[in-house]
């Protein structure tokens, strides 16, 4: 078995992972960093983020305002100390990326431009046209090439993490290109593998977003947190789920029902289309229920109308909206409204960390969508997640580099390595009767139909039962591809196993949270219940499966009140 040593290992090469790697390289240039990613970093899903990145960069804005908007948006479930740190650090990270060449869009005077976004009370969303994530990821990847001490292991798939005592010590990974196995050892680790919304059949996520990091960390005893909270973005294209950015509404787009009415005036007159995502998505569901939506072959939808912005503004500010609408919905938004429906988009929950990105496994840090710090609470505001990648990616890199300098390399147990080798070999040779794609589709349909925007006890119980049965069926999946090189059927099998862990954690947490808060709507418990549920739910691995625990919410100066706009 090949053993590959370094000071720090970064798992995942998207926005948070690259930012962490650069932070290690800059704070401790002598440290060796190995970055392991199941795709080339530039393929990471950060690439698909569109609308922008939030930060206080203008004089009419304040930290206080960004904090309050984020906390109110979270329905008071965000940890306020983490939000304060996040808000104060975000502008630094935005300017820094500016210095690294990220082509932010500009105002006429040459300063960085900002646009309006849902739930933000002033314009504070910095953007690069409507491909902000793409430009950021490019700038970060290109910047990372400056540092020879960052070594990339692209298209390596991590199958297991190893602990020695309480400490994270190594991991097992497979090189897809040639089927080689290796153990990576390091003094500190950063987990930045992204979210998990592929557990839903209708989602905006890339194929790679299968919750790997959440499941890997859970398996070695890290806690998951807030797993019931999944964001449904109001405006996905029917059928494909491809995202139409909130920037379209930020620039002045309307949401219209089948009567041509801007229906948000019934639900949130003060904010209209620029309400937070949970409220706008629920409003669309209400319109659908009231029969005021359009009916299409792939379900009911409403219209997003940006025609009044005119071709020039659309081409300048929202070129990707036009590109994807033309390409994937065969609609030209310059001349026609775009059909849209709510779609699973972002995982608020994730691996539990403190505000400095430490998980409860020593030496393991987590940042980005895989992590739950939490600044997002029960509902993330649009454009806070790209900032989260930079702020906490950087923090994780700094923490990991500090930790790596204070600790020694651990020897991973040979028995555990052999166990994993045996498990992998057996998985390759599986000859079960179950079909991989059928089990996956069944999970995605279950989650979509029973654990979607509106939930209730009966459906959640049915979902739990279904997921547990699917975990059993997973064990009987047979593989057709027997080759060791680039076996994507095999990696899909591992990803499905991870998604089933995330799904179970989601359903169990959703069942336990008997209230409605943010993105989590229980039709059987329609009110927010601060007395019993102003708390996080942790999911931990026990001897007989998942254990739920309470964890306090940190309140600093914004006392919970009714969430009004």
């Amino acid at each position: 078995m090949q053993i590959i040593d370094s000071d720090v290992v970064i798992i995942g090469g998207g926005g948070a992972g690259l930012r962490a790697a650069i932070a290690v390289a800059e704070t401790a240039p002598d440290l060796k960093v190995n970055m392991i990613s199941k795709v080339y970093p530039v393929r990471s899903h950060t690439v698909s983020a569109e609308g922008g990145i939030a930060g206080v960069v203008k004089e009419d804005d304040s930290f206080e305002s960004h904090c309050f908007d984020t906390i109110r948006g979270s329905d008071y479930l965000a940890d306020q100390d983490a939000v304060e740190f996040f808000v104060e650090d975000a502008p630094k990270r935005i300017y820094e990326l500016e210095e690294w060449g990220c082509p932010w869009s500009r105002f006429e005077d040459g300063t960085i431009a900002v646009r309006a976004f849902g739930g933000m009370s002033v314009k504070r969303t910095v953007y690069a046209a409507d491909k902000t994530g793409f430009y950021m990821l490019s700038a970060l990847w290109e910047r990372s090439l400056k540092y020879p001490q960052i070594k990339n292991y692209d298209e390596w798939h991590v199958t297991r993490l190893f602990r020695v005592g309480e400490k994270m010590a190594g991991l097992y990974a497979i090189n897809l290109k040639n089927g080689e196995h290796a153990v990576f050892r390091a003094k500190a680790f950063v987990l930045s593998t992204g979210g998990a919304c592929r557990i839903f059949s209708f989602n905006t996520n890339g194929n790679i977003k299968t919750g790997d990091g959440m499941a890997l960390a859970y398996n070695i005893g890290a806690s998951l947190k807030d797993m019931e909270f999944v964001q449904f973005h109001p405006t996905g294209l029917p059928h494909t789920g491809i995202l139409i950015t909130e920037g379209a509404r930020g620039e002045g787009g309307y949401l219209l029902n089948n009567k041509g009415e801007r229906f948000m005036k019934e639900y949130l007159p003060a904010k209209m289309e620029l309400g937070p995502r949970d409220i706008v998505s629920r409003s669309i569901v209400s319109e659908i229920k009231a029969g005021r939506a359009f009916k299409g072959p792939y379900g009911s939808y409403v219209h997003l109308d940006i025609r009044h912005l005119g071709e020039k503004k659309i081409m300048e500010r929202l070129p990707l909206v036009r590109e994807v609408a033309l390409e994937f919905a065969h609609i030209d938004p310059v001349h026609e409204p775009i059909p849209v429906m709510p779609v699973a988009h972002y995982y608020m929950g994730g691996v539990h960390t403190d505000k400095e990105t430490a998980t409860n496994v020593s030496g393991l840090y987590a940042a980005g969508e895989v992590a739950c710090v939490t600044i997002n609470g029960s509902n993330r505001l649009g454009s806070n997640s790209l900032a989260e990648c930079l702020v906490f990616g950087n923090a994780a890199g700094v923490q990991a580099s500090r930790f790596a300098q204070e600790t020694a390399l651990q020897t991973v147990s040979e028995a555990e390595v052999r166990d994993e080798e045996r498990r992998i070999t057996q998985l390759y040779e599986r000859n079960g009767a179950e079909n991989l794609s059928k089990v996956r589709e069944s999970m995605q349909r279950t989650m979509h139909e029973l654990v979607g925007i509106e939930r209730n006890e009966k459906e959640l119980e049915a979902a739990l039962d279904a997921i547990l049965k699917l975990q059993e069926r997973w064990k009987r999946i047979g593989l057709q591809d027997k080759s060791k090189t680039f076996n994507t059927e095999f990696t899909s099998l591992l990803e499905l196993e991870n998604m089933l862990v995330v799904s179970e954690a989601c359903v169990r947490s959703a069942l336990a949270r008997e209230e409605s808060r943010g993105s989590h709507t229980r039709s059987d418990f329609p009110a927010r219940d601060d007395k019993n549920f102003l708390k996080h739910l942790l999911v931990e691995r026990g001897a007989d499966g998942m254990i739920l625990k309470d964890h306090p919410v940190t309140i600093t100066k914004w006392q919970p009140q009714e969430r009004k706009y």
Binding site: V39, Y40, V42, R43, S44, H45, V47, S48, V57, P91, Y95, E98, E99, W100, G101, P103, W104, S105, R106, F107, E108, D109, G110, T111, I112, K131, F134, Y135, S138, E142, R143, L145, K146, D154, K177, G206, N207, I208, H239, T240, I242, L243, P297, E323, V324, E327, F328, L436, S437, L479, Q480, D481, K482, S483, T485, F486, N487, T488, E489
Partner: protein
């Protein structure tokens, strides 16, 4: 839902085979289906060993490039409806094949790395004062669109034969940083792009720009770099001394 019967020919190769072979699949295609959807349907229901890269399915991540009916494209944005009843899918050209449609593109990534595509941190960190006018930004708008899908390398008639040619995307990337108004040390990128292993192999056929799914126009970038390189030559010689 109305469907059309399509014949999908996919080039297959796995380690141990003497040479790649075409395999024929049949499929009932819906009107919305893309080539990528078709391959996923085949993988899910007919042959789990069919191997290809994909992720975002919205033409941004650059994973799913392949040659479809002779043209290098992103499969996720190539509609089946617009193609004839028989569709032929092959891996990108000019790269070693790893398996089926998966090719080894590490060399192209190395060439991109070789142009030093980054700005050094500017000396005085004055917050938000690094101004860039909309006109200055426009100069890098086109060349900064590259998604590294490697389609231009597949289209390029020189890349495979000309060992010293950096290839289209690396050229576009170098140009993007040289045309950047905030870059105060352009010489690093310019020397890399116009050195021995730089742009000179380009024969200006322009196939890269025709094929680019993001309209980056690497051919234009390469031509401009050649001009800059010629002008930069005396300075380069001085740098060496």
């Amino acid at each position: 839902m109305a469907t059309t019967r399509k014949k999908i020919l996919v080039q297959r190769y796995v380690e141990g085979m003497e040479k790649p072979e075409l395999q024929e699949f049949e499929l009932e295609a819906t009107a919305e289906m893309t080539v990528l959807d078709a391959l996923n349907a085949i993988k899910d229901t007919q042959d789990g060993s069919l191997t290809f890269r994909w992720s975002c399915r919205m033409a941004l991540c650059g994973s799913c490039s392949a040659v479809v009916n002779g043209k290098p494209v992103l499969m996720c944005e190539t509609s089946l409806k617009k193609l004839p009843d028989t569709v032929r899918v092959e891996p990108l050209r000019n790269f070693p094949i790893i398996k089926d449609l998966v090719v080894d593109i590490d060399d192209a990534f190395e060439k991109m790395r070789s142009v030093n595509p980054y700005l050094d941190r500017m000396e005085a960190r004055v917050e938000n004062k690094h101004l860039q006018s909309p006109a200055q930004r426009k100069r890098i708008a086109q060349s900064s669109q590259c998604i590294k899908c490697m389609i231009c390398y597949s289209a390029c008639p020189v890349y495979k034969v000309g060992e010293n040619f950096m290839g289209p995307a690396a050229g576009a990337l170098a140009y993007r940083y040289i045309a950047e108004s905030r870059n105060k040390k352009k010489r690093r990128q310019l020397n890399a792009a116009t050195g021995k292993k730089g742009v000179w192999g380009c024969s200006f056929v322009g196939e890269c720009s025709t094929a680019c799914p993001k309209r980056v126009d690497p051919a234009m970038a390469l031509q401009r770099l050649k001009v800059m390189g010629a002008l930069n030559l005396p300075k380069r010689l001085l740098d060496k001394e």
